[in-house]
Amino acid sequence: MISYYALIGAVEQGFVYGIMVLGVYLTFRILDFPDLTVDGSLPLGAAISAVAITHGINPFLSLFLAMGGGFLAGVVTGILNTKLKILHLLASILTMISLYSINIRIMSGPNVSLLGAKTVLDPLIELGFPGYLAAPILFGVLATFLTVIIILFLYTEIGQAMLATGDNPKMVISQGVNTDNIIILGVGLSNGLVALSGGLIAQNQGAADVNMGVGTIVAGLASVIVGETILGDKSIPQACFAVLIGSIVYRLAIALALGLKIGSFSFAPSDLNLITAILVVLALIAPKLKKKF
């Protein structure tokens, strides 16, 4: 099975990527907007945060900058889709591809190292928490806090309009809601969360890399689907916590798979995307298969 440290590591990853998963949940489930921008906005957040820190900006503040950058990236996708009438998938791919170039510009290269730099984990470590516990605790508190914030948001007037926009745009327009603005806001918020997640990941692993976002959307979808399947999505609070826990379950499953040995065969970390994609396909067709048999 897996060691205690691997378990802690998976929980830590689950929480920090869980913030990204919440973002994917907002677009994919609430707005019914498959948003591939996240593959670019995760490294964007990492790049902004890392560059800001190496320029002497407070690591906490750097995360706000990262969120702002992610929000803007989402807004661009939203505008491409609503105002310029580009298909949502294509709009998000265009932003994602542009972000590859932009991220390299921001970092003046393909990566930035944060070795020895100050991070948001320092205060916890100074308080006496061991390094391997500081990250899961901080990420856990933050992810839970953000989940609560999102749940509260979805019960506000704007949040309700967002839910309705994903469900029945024709109805919500006839109730006087500008769905274009709601979509732009929603995709922006989602990518703000994803970029925050990226910033935290960079600080945690000590580097930002332009390729760290590859497969983000697939991992996000897998976590959303796994969470909803295991814990249900009957109400908004249930669904939001389900996808956060889905993220942890997903990372645990990955850790298990990576530790697996069948004869001389074992999975390499580069097999992750394939495994995840297959997992998502299975999860997506499962309801249809159930009906057939």
Partner: protein
């Protein structure tokens, strides 16, 4: 007062599939008018309603609302004074949201949405009162998802939602056509009640000639995107189906018999 001036609407303009859905429509809708709109398939009834609601903009012409030119206003902006009920009972409500959440969306029609609570306890009092009037026992099911309701219940709810904030004009697009006869009758009675109670200016598209004659103070018939018949007041009350048909042949002298509308 709503004035349509020389409204034309082309679909697929410039292509081989070009259709002239509305042809130079001139219409004055007076405050308090309850207009029933009839016409064969493709006559332009729904296009007329959609033009008023702003679902698309007319190719030519002008729409004046109380002397204000709203021709280029997008649909969500016009929603401030337009209440709508669609033919499909599923279109007027959000299935995944609760009854009270749907009603709260409607209660804030025309207002800027904020980060205030989506459904307040004050709202619930209003909703219970309104739902009790329907007689469908929905007042005890505020937290139930709308997806659990029947088509008739959803259409009744949509009727309430469209008129909760008093609309300057109520647009009903064959809103009973997808229901069974008994439920349709119920929704129709509800429509009459609400319209009379609030003195709403109403435009109701229907395929049913009896309905068109029974309800409202004015009747217009559309054919190939034109108003071919506009009758109101005393004359409208005396109108019979036979008369309506003969008037139609008189005006057009065209073959019309194959049409569904004549099956009544």
């Amino acid at each position: 007062m709503i004035i349509l001036k020389n409204i034309s609407k082309y679909f697929n303009k410039g292509s081989v599939n070009q259709v002239l859905a509305l042809n130079n429509i001139n219409l004055q809708i007076k405050k308090g008018d309850f207009i029933t709109v009839i016409g064969s398939n493709g006559a332009g009834k729904s296009t007329l309603l959609n033009c008023l609601a702003g679902s698309f903009l007319p190719s030519h012409g002008q729409i004046l609302f109380n002397q204000q030119d709203i021709t280029n206003w997008p649909e969500y902006k016009r929603a401030k004074f337009v209440g709508r009920v669609f033919q499909d009972p599923l279109l007027g409500t959000c299935a995944s949201m609760s009854i009270e959440q749907n009603m709260a969306l409607a209660l804030r029609r025309g207002k800027t949405r904020t980060l205030a609570l989506g459904v307040t306890s004050k709202d619930r009092v209003i909703f219970k009162e309104l739902l009790a009037k329907l007689g469908l026992s929905l007042e005890n099911r505020l937290a139930d998802k709308v997806g659990l309701l029947s088509g008739g219940q959803r259409q009744a709810l949509t009727m309430l939602m469209a008129t909760m904030v008093r609309p300057e004009i109520l647009l009903l697009d064959e809103h009973t056509a997808a229901l069974d006869p008994k439920t349709a009758q119920h929704i129709l009675r509800l429509t009459e009640e609400i319209v009379n109670e609030q003195h709403l200016t109403t435009l109701m598209v229907t395929h049913n000639m009896h309905q068109a004659i029974q309800l409202g103070n004015r009747l217009i018939m559309l054919h190939r995107g034109e108003v071919i018949f506009d009758i109101h007041g005393e004359e409208k009350y005396k109108l019979t189906v036979q008369e309506l048909l003969s008037r139609f042949y008189e005006l057009r002298g065209e073959e019309f018999s194959s049409d569904k509308m004549l099956l009544i």
